[in-house]
Each structure stands twice: as structure tokens, then as C-alpha cells.
Amino acid sequence: MSNSETINPNTTMNNESKTSSTTKVEELQNLKGRKTVLMQGNEAVAYGALDAGCNFFAGYPITPSTEIAEILAAELPKRGGVFIQMEDELGSICAVIGASLAGAKALTATSGPGFSLMQEGIGFARSAETPCVVVDVQRVGPSTGMPTSCAQGDIQQSRWGTHGDSPAIVLYPDSVKESYELTIRAINLSEKYRTCVILLLDEVLGHMREAVRLPDLSNVRVISRVKPTVPPHWYKHYENNEKYPIPLASFGEGYRFHVTGLTHDSLGFPTNKPNEAAEMMARLKKKITYNIRDLVQIESFQMDDAKIAVFAAGITARSAKAAVVMARKEGIPAGLLRPLTIWPFPDDAVRKMLRDVDIVIVPELNQGQLIREIERLVKDRSDSKLIKIQRVDSKLIPPQDILQKIKEVI
């Protein structure tokens, strides 16, 4: 059902054969032996990163994301890549950006407290238009919260966490398989749009094991940044044009360009001129808004004739889908709309949903971070179309609770 474009759908029949002597761990690590394996969401992120060509990881240990770092510590050196455990998350995101400017496909993984510390660096990557990926395996907050429990409290932080005004790309998987796919997609989008892409995972998904068959590597679509072909003195790494992507040279390739977090002109040099500041801000915005169709992914489940829609993301969408299936068995016309891309928010799909159905139920593991985006799109704020189910006690919302709400409102 997921319409992720990074994976060719004809891949499931490949590579049944494997050597008989490999242990399960070796087999997991040996990406050639691609049979169905039991895998955690965090493992899927690590293997997705490797398959997308990630060759640099800098991070700091934090529950519940640590498996990603542990796997990459073992795997990256084998492939000629770099793993470094930094002194903190501030240093981690900065080392990732530095490596990316030197040409690496760089990634870091963290959880809420570390994600907060990385926000300044995330803003730098967006301003300096440097590709990188931050994986945030969300846990209960605020503050240190409940490190091994599940919450969806970073949805708005992933959009607005860094200071200043800059658009974000944030992806949100709901299964182990999709964690693999969206990690690849996150790296691809970061390279294509030259920005920091965030992958949000739920704690339960990070640690949950599911049977997954990874695609054969030859079927994984990998995107790498475009390199300049012009002579160095013509090169403008922040050129204002309508064409994306804008080529990005790496340090050491003869281009000798300047990178700064200050507002800059098309050559990367700091500027205080309002017209140049406006151009830069417009470029950052337009590269997202002009490419919404490439960026936004939505799963639409049983929505064609639905009168009641459930709108949910991540692990909560799993419960929602189960509730929709149960409702349909009882003859209730329910459906699920699930964003795989939460930022930019899928405004058009949500508007269509609001037109098509009578009631929208929004279950989420926070106090209203997704529903406020839908409220933004409801024309009449007094409309009672929106029903919330919110839980912040570290427990998931079970399908029965959503089903019960569906039955209450029908």
C-alpha cells in the first residue's frame, strides 16, 4: 500500500540463495544475503543508510536510538566510511555538516534531548544548504522524560525547532520496512534538495522487530548531489534560479567557496542587503514549495468511499489501520489517511479529505501537534468535524479505542 518511490516494487523475488554457513548476525550484516529477516526499526535505519551510500556518521549515545550508532560503528569502517562518537550532540551535527561539505553522505541519529541540542546545527545546514540527515527516535518528554517509552512529541519540533524561519523536510515511517525505505529516501532528498532532512521514528518502531525482506541493492534508487561542471570562477553555489538541484562542489575539488550561517549572497559571502536576504529566503522556501509533489507522500487506505477518516502518522497509524479494518468488517465506511511526509504538511490531501468525509479522527501520542495542522486547514473553525484522541502516558493508543470513537461518532 505504501507508495514509497525509492524502492522498485518488482524486487521481492530476488536473492533466495545464500551460503549455508552464515550466522543470523552475519546474515543481517551481509547485505548480499537478502532473504526475509527479523529486524528492528533502528536496524532498518542503519541498513537503509548504508544502502543509500551513507559514508559518514557522527553521533552521541542516547536511548532509544543507540542501535543505529552501534551497527554503523561496525559496518561503516568495513565499507571505507567513517564512524565517530563525538563528545555531544552539538559536535555530532556539526561534524556531520563538515563531512558533508567535504563530500560525504552524512547522517546522525538521536532522540529528544539530543535532537534539541542539534537544532542550531540543523538551522545551519538549512541556511548553508548542506545535505545531511538527522534521525530522531522519539521518546517521552518533556525533558529527559521516559527514555524507553513511546511518544510523538517532536512533530512540531522537527518543523520549528531551529530558530529563524526555514522550511523543513520530515519523513515519518510506520513499519520496519518503511523505516528502511524512508531512510534511503531521506538521504536521497537531502542530496537532491541540499538540506537537512529529518526522519522521525517512534520508540516502539525503533525497537520493534518485524519480518523484512530488503530489496536487492541493484533495485535501490540512490540519488547523489549534482557536482558543478563550470570553471571555478563561474561557480555560484547559492545561485538563484528556478532549476533544482543547484550543484554543490566539495572542499578540496578546486572551487574554494565560502560557507557561512550568516545570511549570504549567491557566492556564499555574508550580506546585509535586504534584496539579497530576500533572495536567499525565497530560494530556501521555493525549493520546498515548488517541489511539493516530489516531497509529499501519503498513504490512502479505504478512503474512496469513506465517510469517517482517521488521520494518523507513525506507530499510531498502525492502530488506526487496524481500527479501520475492524470498522469495515462491521460495515462502517471508515478510511485512513497517513502522511509519510509530515513536513511539508500534505495540505492538498488533507483538504480533499476534509471535503470528502463527514468526520476526521486524529489519534496521536501528544497533546495536539498533528491536529493543529488540520485545524489550520478547516475553513470554519467552529466546525465539529475534528475529533481528537490524545495520549501522553507513554502507552500506545490501541485499535479498540479508535474503533470505539468511530462508533461513537457515526
Binding site: 559518514f56 557522527a58 569502517p77 568495513k78 552539538l90 563538515g98 563531512a99 552524512a106
Partner: protein, 280 residues
């Protein structure tokens, strides 16, 4: 456009759009920049292989003026960015230009851990004893009892000896000089870039407009004279009676040793992993 004077330094500056620079009259930063460029010019390095990284502050504005790969980053994080650059492309010569606040306050954690790793970076800390860009607040190297806008009754904190800190953390090349000693600075920069490991050079700088005014140090010439008269070479320390050493700036290469460099060790680790792992 008037002809550009042909000195070595001019071959390394970015002439388009970048001048006039942001530094005040009498600031030492330009003098140190001259020493850095003359050191690099004398080393026959390909400027495509040089990356200059800085944080935030007056001295951290330096990279924008020079024709290298240049990266002006976040406050305190220059060494972390530089670590990423160096690890991905170890053949690049990565030079970090930073100030006392950038390096020893907000960036202190990255400084000590990069020193501990002995990663091959050249960190040049321009110490003007104050936060200049924000208008004169107290820094970790503001001397005890000196004045700053946020220490209007005198600084009650002791100042940081950043060279000792770096040595304690494991830096394998540590040197101190002043902006007045341009040739010494130049020699140290050359030595630090050639040194295979983490190198820190502290360059004592004059900030006459802010630090000098708040502390009645006179103008730039008086502060330069003070650097000359109030500093002694390391070699002379043993020959002088203790009272003549007291309170003086000790200049020279304070520490130098060789131990395994981080990128070289990582290359060995990769070989080991590839021999053991055999995956892919």
C-alpha cells in the same frame, strides 16, 4: 579599479566584495592573518587543499577574506565542523581560527576532545581577553580584576590558561605568541600545520577599542608595546630570576610530542575491520 599591490598576502585574499573588513582600527586580527598567510605561502601548499574553519566572533570573520575553502560556522563549534571535514578527507590541511570565547568557553568541550583524539587540526586561538563582537563582555581569558561590560566591578574569576588546558587534554603541539611577534607567529603556524597531530597556537591579541578602553590600556601602539615588553621567550625563563618571570606572557613552543594521530588510527581501524568483516 586601482591596481592591487603585489605583496604575497594579496595573492591569498578575496578581493571581490570582501573589503573593507569588519575589524576595528588597531585590531590585531589582520596582523595575525598576515602571519598565517605568509606561513602558508612559504610552504608550497596547494590552496585547494586548505580548509579554514572558524566559529563566531571577531577573529572568526577571518576565513571570508582568504582564498581557501572556507567555512564560517556556529559559535563554539568550529573544531567539531573541522573534525568532520578532516575525517572525510584526511589529506586536506584543516586550520581552525577561533577566539578565546569561541574556543575556551562555548567550544571548550570540542577543544579538549579534539586534543585528546590528537586529530590533525591546526587551531589558532586569537586571544583578545574579551568578547569583542558583542561589545566587551567578560571572557574565560579576561584577567582577574580586569573590567568588562559584564564585569563592571572587576572580574572575580581567574582566567583560563588555554595552553595548559590543551596540554592536559592531550594536544601534541602547543605554542603561545603575541600579535606583535609576527615572525614568531608565522614560524609557529608553519610548524603547527606540518605537525602530524592536534596543534594549538594561542596568539595574544590587542583589542584597543573595547578591551583597551575598558581597562585603560591606551591605544593600539601602547598595547603592542605591552606585548613586546610584557612577554618573554620560553628559552629565557630559566635564566631569569622568578620575580622577572612573574606575570609575564611566556612565548614559545610549550609542548611538542608525537603520538598516534586520529585519522591515521582510523585508517588502521578500517583495514582491521575489512580484514575481519569481509562483508560487501
Amino acid at each position: 579599479m586601482p591596481a592591487i599591490p603585489q605583496k604575497i598576502i594579496h595573492e591569498y585574499l578575496r578581493h571581490d566584495k570582501k573589503f573593507p573588513h569588519v575589524w576595528c582600527a588597531g585590531c590585531s586580527n589582520g596582523i595575525v592573518l598576515g602571519s598565517i598567510i605568509r606561513a602558508i605561502a612559504g610552504m608550497n601548499l596547494d590552496r585547494n587543499d586548505i580548509v579554514m574553519v572558524s566559529g563566531i566572533g571577531c577573529s572568526s570573520r577571518m576565513p571570508v577574506y582568504v582564498d581557501f575553502n572556507t567555512l564560517h560556522t556556529l559559535h563554539g563549534r568550529a573544531i567539531a565542523f573541522a573534525t568532520g571535514v578532516k575525517l572525510h578527507k584526511p589529506h586536506l590541511k584543516v586550520i581552525v581560527v577561533t577566539g578565546d570565547g569561541d574556543c575556551a568557553a562555548i567550544g571548550g568541550n570540542h577543544l579538549i576532545h579534539a586534543a585528546r583524539r590528537n586529530i590533525d587540526l591546526t587551531v589558532i586561538m586569537l586571544n583578545n581577553n574579551i568578547y569583542g563582537m558583542t561589545g566587551g563582555q567578560v571572557s574565560p581569558t579576561t584577567p582577574h580584576e580586569a573590567y568588562a561590560t559584564t564585569a563592571p566591578y572587576g572580574n572575580i574569576e581567574p582566567d583560563f590558561d588555554v595552553c595548559k588546558l590543551a596540554m592536559g587534554a592531550g594536544a601534541t603541539y602547543v605554542a603561545r605568541t603575541t600579535a606583535f611577534h609576527t615572525q614568531e607567529t608565522q614560524n609557529m603556524v608553519k610548524e603547527a600545520i606540518e605537525h602530524p597531530g592536534f596543534a594549538l597556537i594561542e596568539v595574544i591579541c590587542a583589542c584597543p577599542v573595547i578591551y583597551g578602553r575598558l581597562n585603560k590600556k591606551g591605544g593600539a601602539p601602547e598595547m603592542m608595546k605591552e606585548m613586546r615588553d610584557n612577554s618573554i621567550p620560553l628559552a629565557a625563563v630559566d635564566k631569569l630570576p622568578p620575580e622577572k618571570v612573574q606575570g609575564k606572557i611566556i612565548r614559545g613552543v610549550l609542548h611538542k610530542d608525537i603520538r598516534p594521530e586520529y585519522c591515521a588510527q582510523y585508517a588502521e581501524l578500517m583495514k582491521k575491520a575489512q580484514a575481519q568483516g569481509g562483508s560487501k
